[in-house]
Structures are given as C-alpha cells and as structure tokens.
Symmetry: D2
Subunit: 355 residues, 4 copies
C-alpha cells in the first residue's frame, strides 16, 4: 500500500484534461437564463484556415465552450487546387462529434464581399452551398430564408476600413430595414470597435464577440497576453440550439475578451452581482472596519472613482478574495465605476458595494 501511495505521488501533479474534458469557465448564469459561452466565427482548410474541422471542436471543448459555428468563407477558396469547394463539409464532418461532446454546432458560412457590405456570417442556416450566388443581396435573402441570423463581421477591419472606424452604408440600412442584420461583432480576433455598441443600441441588435480563428487557438490566445479567446455570452433559456437561436435574435448577449466585459446594463448588472459576494465585516478597530469581497469569476473587476474617504480604486482579481479596509467615518454608499465593464460606447457600469 505504501507503494500505491508512491505511485499516486509520481503521477503528474497537474492532471491535464484529455479529449472529452472541458475546462470550467467561471462565468455565472444570470437569473432566468443559462450563460452559454460561444464562438461564432472560425475557419478550416475548407476555406483559408489551417486545420481540419473536427479540430475546431476539440479546441472548443478544451476551452469550455457551449456552442460554436464553423464559418468558412464563400468564394475565398485558396486551397481549391487541392481541396474541392464544399461549404457544408465542415458541418457534415463535425455534426456527430459535436453531439457526442455536448457542444451545440451552429451551421454557418461567411459571406465575404468588399465593403460595403463587407463580411457577414450567416448562422443557423441549413445549406451553405445554396449561398453561392452572384448578388450579395440574393445571398443574404437566401440566408434569411433559411432562418439565418446575420452577423456583420469586423466592421472596422482595417483591410476594409483603413481608419478602423465602422461605417453604416446604405446597403446596411436597407438590410436592417428587412431585419437581415441581427448582430455585429464588437470583438473580432484581437480587435474591438467601440462604435458597434452604439449601432447595436440604435438598431436593437446583438453584440457579438468571436475569434475568427484561422490557425490554432492555444497558440494565439496564450498567457501572459491572453486568458481566453473572444466569446459571445448568450443568455438562453436552456442549453439547446433552439434556445440559443431565440436568445440571439432577442439580443440577449454580452461579449467577453481579455479583461473586458461589454453589454447592456441590465445584463452587466446581473452578471456582476452573480460574480461578486461581500462578506460581513470580520474585524474592526477604532478607526476602521474590515470586510472581504469575493470574486468567483474568471474576470477581474477594476473599481475606480471611489467616494471621498473610501479606497479610490479596488481591484477584485479573478477567483480571489479582496480585503477592503474602510474608515468608520465614511457614511456614504460605496459606489464605484467598473472600468472594465462597458455598458455603452462611452459608459462603464456603476456598482455599489453593500457590506
């Protein structure tokens, strides 16, 4: 038996998850909804990506995602000399493995045109080959006819907008009139476009955040610069493809990347409240009271602009407990800006710490 123990100690201490194991992403559900962690933009060798479709699934599983869409480009087919074009290939090759992995696979494709209208992902479609049409308008109409959710991709991508500023062209407005744009990427790859928040408010669209990965997730989004790929957090009634789709059309999303969380105030507020818990004071002396704030999430929160007398700023590190020392003279509410939680293009979440 002593030997048994020895064997146990000789095992690699850090058991590395194998295939079939997913990381727990510490992001809470909000009241009434499960929070689905999603990436709706990625490529494979069936367009200009570097990997076989099933590999995208293995990556998603490892990263703890609930849903993905593989969205190979329509038209952009640099490998067609070796790989015949088949825009449904990725879907067919991963459908069963996705079910076996408890990942919702969203059938998708990327409509890739010059700006305007630029690139748009058609999500929840049924046949990507049917999107091979000359007119972009016809393509989008077909996607909509299939029940597709249309996501405007990286609207400030410098290859199409050299100044990095997204612009609404006439065709975008006409598509919006038809209900044929349903979300816009705020995060794409390692970029973000603040103005997208205003567009989403104006037209009542879902904020989207995706990796647009072409090579290898683990080699791109790696410490120390990254803790995770960009994700769309979808607040769905349950973890099913139908609920996911309903939630997206209803605009119940936030987007998450690095140490930023971005979304409408009502979701941001509920989300923050579920991440944070505040203990009763554990100690006091003549001058101060002491209490602890627990942040159970993977996201740090940078609290700034504290009221006079309270700490000017507090960093609630991810998965940590932070002690707060407060002068007994402070009688006002402990209100802070959360610098890294955006609830508008130019607005950050305000919170109160109640101990």
């Amino acid at each position: 038996m002593r030997k048994l123990i020895v064997i146990s100690l000789l095992l690699t201490v850090i058991a590395i998850p194998g295939f079939g194991q997913r990381k727990i992403v510490n992001l809470p559900d909000i009241p009434g909804y499960v929070t689905l962690k999603c990436d709706f933009h990625m490529h494979t060798i069936f367009s200009d990506g570097s990997v076989w479709p099933t590999y995208r699934l293995a990556e998603a599983l490892k990263d703890g995602l609930d849903a993905i869409a593989i969205t190979d480009h329509i038209v952009i087919a640099p490998k067609k000399g070796y790989v015949p074009v088949d825009l449904n290939a990725a879907w067919k090759l991963t459908e069963t493995a996705a079910k076996e992995s408890n990942i919702i696979l969203v059938h998708g494709a990327e409509i890739s045109r010059k700006m305007p209208p630029g690139h748009l992902n058609a999500l929840f479609i049924t046949d990507a080959e049917a999107l091979q049409k000359d007119s972009v308008w016809d393509v989008i109409e077909e996607a909509a006819k299939q029940g597709g959710f249309i996501q405007w991709d990286h609207p400030g991508w410098k290859a199409q907008q050299p100044d990095g500023i997204p612009r609404m062209y006439d065709i975008h407005k006409r598509l919006l009139d038809k209900g044929w744009i349903n979300g816009i990427e705020f995060f794409n790859s390692d970029e973000y476009y603040p103005l997208v928040f205003t567009f989403c408010e104006q037209y009542n669209l879902a904020l989207m955040g995706n990796s647009d990965i072409h090579a290898i997730i683990s080699e791109k989004y790696t410490a120390p610069n990254y803790t995770n790929r960009p994700m769309t957090l979808v607040f769905a009634k349950e973890k099913t493809a139908e609920s996911l789709k309903e939630a997206m059309f209803a605009g119940r999303t936030m987007v998450y990347f690095r140490d930023m969380l971005v979304g409408r105030e009502k979701y941001a507020k509920q989300f923050f409240d579920k991440c944070i818990s505040i203990g009763k004071p554990f100690y006091e002396n003549n001058e101060n009271i002491y209490f602890e704030v627990t942040n159970k999430s993977d996201l740090p929160f940078y609290l700034t602009n504290g009221v006079s007398g309270a700490p000017e700023s507090i960093t609630l590190a991810s998965n940590s407990v932070t002690r707060v020392v407060l002068s007994k003279k402070i009688k006002t509410q402990l209100v802070y800006d959360v610098k890294n939680v955006l609830i508008g293009e130019k607005k950050v979440l305000k919170v109160e710490l109640k101990y």
Copy 2:
C-alpha cells in the same frame, strides 16, 4: 472613451492579487461544517527560519489559508548571537495583522527533542516562554495545562528514524494515556508516513498535514511539482479560534497535499460528494449513453478498477468537466476506487457515479 478602453486593454491581463488579496482554494465545505484550510507548522528567524514572522502571514493570505500557527523551536536557536531568544515574539508581532487579515493565528511552539519523543508542536498555548523547561515531560504538561493541542511532528523523519518508519515508544504511550498527544503529522514538508493513519485510528487522534516551512513557500511548493503546500483541512462549526480548536480535539480533519487527500471515510465521502456533480445524459445513440461529471475542486480524482464494460479508469481533472461514454449494455452500478483519496493506511475511497 475609446482611450479608456485602450487603457483597460493595456492593463496586465492577469490581475495579480496584491496584499490583502487571497486566492480562492476550491475545496468544499461539508454538511454542517466549514472547511478551514490550515498550516500548523512553520518557522521564522526567531528559531532557524529565514523570514520575519509577518511574512508567514502574507504567505498564508496569498495561499488562501484560514488558520496558521508559527511554531518556532524551543532550544534550537542558531541565531541567538544576533537575535535574543523570545518564543512569544512571532505571536506578538503578528497578532494584530492576523486579525486584520481574517486569519486565525494559533499561538504555538515546537518542542524539539531527540527521539523519543522527537518533536511535538504545542498549539493553542498562551505563553511559549513558559515551555522553557528541562524535562520534556514537564514541558508537555505545561503545554497541556495551557490548554494546548499536542501534535506529534514528522514521526518518520529520517534524521530521527533512519528507516522512515514511525515508532510508538513507551513515552508516546504514556503521553497518550494522559491525553497529551492529540494529533500526528501524516504530511510534513514533502514527506508522508502512511503508518500514521493507523496510529490515529488506534488512538483516536487528528490527522495533521503541515509545511514545516523554514524558507519561502512560493519557492518550495512551485509548479510543475506542486500545486499547494501540505494543509490540514479542519471541519469546524464556524470560522473562529474556538471552533477550530474544538474540531481539532474532536479529530475532524483531513490532510491534503499535491494530488492526495487523506482522512476518515465519513469525511472523505462527504467531501468527494461535494466536489463532484454528475449531469443527466446529454446524448445517446444505439450503443452508448453520454454524460458529464463536473469536478469543481482543485483536487483531481483518479478513478480506477471500473466494473467490466465501463471505463476501466476515469481521471476527473481539477476544475474540469469530464465526459463519460457508457455502453448501454452496462447495467451494474458504476463503482470505482478513488486511487488518490486514502481512508486508511492501506485503503482507498470507493465511490459510485450515479447519473
């Protein structure tokens, strides 16, 4: 505002906890008790350690501990040419900071004699200087008189037992008769002594696991070889010094180090059940059903000796979700040995996965 976001992105992505921040140790409470993470054996420059006492507190806070004892050696005083002997110094220097840090500071000292009886820690005492006596019997009597919990330290330490096997000498038995040994170290530094489990069963004592650190915790217990220092997990009614002491005298402890968890079956079973949750099957086909097992704890579990037809072994990596694929032909219970959870000197925990 765009600028504000830029600033946010330029912050170090991984917010490193500062002083006043503690790591969350993902080890669950069990029904009726809070699980206090403790280290009852450490040294400072007031005996043969390398650091000032307050540093031990900073380390404990960072590691997410709930209680510590600083236990400088009585008699062993290699620095006395520069630092006058004061066995209560560490206590006096850290008492207030411990209160301000929400850490229970246990007043302690290490009685350091040749084997037998070897080294013993006196915990929950009130005056370590009063333990400066010639006869070890007198010292222990004084410690007991002060209400002390007596822990037999590293009984298989090779400097005192060259074969590494702990031995009960006559003096130990006489001390046990008096009730003056209350716990024994199963883990000390990077050693462990399986026989200690049997001793603790025979005499109804608390299993103890401590670092006995002399230098720097973060430099010794470092990845990839270590995920944490050795800890005593105490199941206390609440997080107070009194409850902690009551629980230790009642033997409600487990010990935790690397990927091993060791303790009595009733605690081990409840602990495992709180770490693990098993989802409903999320998929099935003609041959198999698929379900997920979530391990929310920092401890992996190595399940082995599965019933015929089921997976022979399953590794439930820490903070991960593991998919289990099961043949529909399997009708028996899914019973496993948990190889790294010891419930006796030669016995591992048995568990059933109910999906």
Copy 3:
C-alpha cells in the same frame, strides 16, 4: 523622451517570436560537423493529420529545427471523400516556404503496411505518387531507386507488436541485405524502444527519433511534461540537403527527447564535452576545494556513481552553473556515469570531470 521610455516599458516584456523567428536550441556542434536538429516523421490533412502542410513548417521554424520531412501515409486516406489523394501535395505546397525559412525540406512518404514489415518512411525521394504499388517490396525498391533513405518506423508500436518489443522478421533481413533499411526509430511520439540500439549496432544503421505528429506540436509536447519534441540530431558537414543525406546514410545521428540523449559513444562523448565546461577552483579552505561546472545546453546531465569521497551524484541542470565541493582528500579521477545519456541498449556514457 521620457515618453519613449515609458512606451518601451509598456511593451510586453517577453517579446514572443513571430513568424520568421526561430528559437535557439542550445545543442552544440561537434568537431568537424554542424548538428542539424531534425524531425523526419509528421502528417497533414493529406493523410490522417489535422493540419495543412505549411503549418508543419511554421511549427518547425518556431522549434528551431533545421530539417523536416512531411510523410503522409500511402494508402491510409480517411479524408479522401473530401480531399483527393495527392502524396506529393505537401511537398509542392511547402517547398518554396521552406527555402524562405532556411529549413531543409526532405521529400517523404510513409509506407504503411501490416507487420511485417510494418511502417517505413521513405525519405529523400522524388515522387511519392510512384510509391502507390501493391507489393510492399516493389514500393521499397521504387523508393530506393529514387535514392531514398528508408527508415523503419516505431518497430515496437503496440498496435502492431502488442508487447512493445521490436522484432526482426525475415523481410526486414532481406531488406537489410539489399541496403533498403537505413535507419530505425528509437523514439517515436512519446515512446522509445531500447532494443533498436542493438539493431542499429548490428546492421550499422542510423538511430532515428521523430514526433510522428498528427495534431499540434505545441499542444502535445508541452511543459511540465515535455521540453521538446523528439528529434534526430544529424552531424552533417554543412547545412545542405546533400550533406544531411550523406550524414544519415553514414549513420552520424543521435536522438534526443525529454531529458534523454541516445547515440554512439564517439558522438555522445564529443557532444557532452561541448556542452560542459569546468572552471578553475574559485575557492578552497582547509578541507575542500570549490569549482563550477557550466552546462550551456538545453539538456540536463544526471551524473551518478561517483567515486568514494566525491559527491555520489551531481545534476548539471540545463543552462546552469553547478558548484562542486570536493574534499581535498580525494585524489582519484572524478569519473561518473551520465545516467541520461545512453550509448548502447544497456550502457550509459562514462565521463570524467577534470578541473
């Protein structure tokens, strides 16, 4: 200017090599030869691998390799429903990029048959499509006719040899008579076959060590378990394809994986001598002299079985300086076994430390 400095400090401290940057692998040349770091066994989506061929090149560059062979399987073509079979595709797709990356690209293919003869890599061939023949003998003859170097792959692979022990079958001996087996894998993926050393000695063949990677190098060979992929070290007259081939046919190789280095004594001895330098004593007192041993390589050396009075064992950690303290009474030579440098199936390198 102050601002300029600020900008500099805000840059990521650890500049991560981009495409076009290669890691320096600290493994020395030996007298008369450059040491080429090579991997002659890898797969892409053109057989059963997960990535596009150019990605293998990017991985090799990052890992600091000098030469690679992409060796997709002949016959094993699970993706042929989507990707037409073209055994020269990987070569054609990477040839120019290899030249631009200063990596020698060796044209190869894996002949994949049942045991015997099992799998064999044909390296330095000119047309892999010409190896599409029914008889394995005809295939190997064709490879030899093209000037190919024939490497017997993973001879103890458990899928083909359930006990893990390589066996010479009659067909292997007949191939050897023709000169049509030129090297054997000692390391493959995360396995090794000690008996291969004896085979290589008997038949005067090159020891080979390769990754046989199907998925992603950086996800498989990752710390803490791995520091590098398996490599064949080839001692070539210069870094050209011709010199590489000449050296391999001449058997001038060693193999390297994790903390093991394996090869013929003459190369191992020269290699060790180039890794290690021993300083003059920097201090002495009445009892001891003190000197330092510098290991400039990425490989640690575990010295054991020291002479009586000298340190019993010394670990020369990679890229480190180790202090040796020696009793002045020791008058014998400081001879050690180097436990992790094998110069035969059951033999380790012996070295002397001369200070």
Copy 4:
C-alpha cells in the same frame, strides 16, 4: 537497463537548479572586460527587510549574479525591540558563504536621511558601525575614508521628491566636488529616472541599477511582468573585488532592467555587437534576399525607423533567430534605432545590420 531508462524518463523533466546552482544570464562580455552582473542595494531583518542575510545570497546565486552588497539602513531600525542593531551583522553572517558561492560580497550600508541629500549607499566600506554619526557630512566623510564608493540612491523617489524628478541640491554639488558621490541609481526597484543619465554625464559618474529589495526577489520580479531584477552591469578586468571596485570608480557600467539597457554609447555599441550575429544570405529570389539575425542574449532588441524599403521595424527576440527579408532594390545601409537601448537621457543607440 530498460528499467534504468524508465527511471530516467520519470525524473522531473525540468531539472530545477538546487542550492549551489546558478542560472546562466545570457549577457556577453565586451572586449577587454568581463561583464559582472551586480545588485548593490538590498535589505534584511537587520533593518526593515523581511529575510535573514544568507537568504539574499541564495537569491543572488539563483539569479546568476556575480556581486552583491547588503545595505541595511543606518538609523531606520524598526525591529530593534527584537533584534539589536548591528550594521555589520549581514556582512559577518554571509562573508564565508559568499566565498563558497563564487559571489563577490561588497560590504555596504545605506545612509538614510531626508532630502537633501536623501539616501546614499556606502559600498566597499570596512566598518558600517563607524557610520553611526549625527552629521550626514561626517558619515559620508567616514565612508570615503574607508575607501567607499558612494552611490546616490533613488534620487526621484516620490516619498522624497513628490514629482519624481531628481534634483541636485547644494550639498550634492559639494559632495561631488570632494569626489564623494561616485554613482547614481537610474533604476531602483521598479522605477527609473531618465535625468540621472544627464547627471552621470555631467559629473562623470557610474550609472547604477539595483533592486532595493526588502521582501522576496522571486515574488516581486516574476513573469509575465518581469524577466529579471534591475542589475548593474560592471565591465571589470576580472572577477575580483578589486577589479569590480576599480571598474565602478572608472564608471564602466551599464544598467539593465526588464527590456531596457542603458549606458554610455561605447559600451552599448560593443555590447550589442556581442549579442547579435548576422548570417550570410541563405536564400534569394528575383525580388528579395533572405538572411537571419541571431540574438544570443536574454535581452530583446526593438529596431525601429528603418530606411525606406527595408522593414520599418524588426524585433530581435531574446535567445532567438530572426529572419529578415530584404528587397533587392535597397542599396542603402540598414541603419536602425534600437528603441530599448538608451545611450543618453533622450538618445537611443543607432546600429547597422551588415549581412
């Protein structure tokens, strides 16, 4: 023997240097001099530090330093209720261990006064207790009399200069007239003071860079934010205390921290040239030629402001080989600014890449 190999593979792959092992710091010697890696500012429990003096030596050894000074504060003695003041204690306690570790131990103390003159380290003194005098002038005179090298510490420390800008007061100028200030800290802890470069040029002083560590080096200067503590690089004729002292009085120093290297042009130029080697072109096509630049040092170099047609900027990552692709049309010299090598308060090194 198979077993032996198994044992070898089960060893921790990354052999962690033990006590007596030092990291190799990859910073080259320059022609005529050895480059000594030094830290001349650190504290122990004999003033306001957290550790015992020998621990500073262990840290220095691990970090690969050649020389250190332990410089406990004169007057600042917060621990004197427990530890009697003895300003020579650290020296006495570490002198022999330093010799046995091949580290030059410089006897030092920190003269700690209000600004002006602020704090000054007396280095190479013989008796720190003799510096216990009322008048700071008398203290410095005594230090000078002992042969001391006087280093002005952190002249822009915000506790003494709230705007962070160093100022020369009258007393500094009078000390300079006497030759009693010999160097100034450009780097201290995690701060730097650009103006110090100008002071050092005006008065012909040595640039200094030190940690001023009070707690634990490995916990403060840790990845991802830091690769190393601040260091003074001294260009000495040989590795002896006498040569070190001679070099410092002669001003032959550079300072190194994070990704910054700062010092006089002649040293910076020679240093860069020893870090970098440029290979012959390994490939060319109709448009471009390709060559590799090897950076054998631990310091990255950020090359910027390239001539028209050449790459605008090149990052030579530490310990890496960088490929440069150059249009054949470029006929001018490849001249770059090295953004992170400062040769003046507002001046960066200019280099030419000759291939």
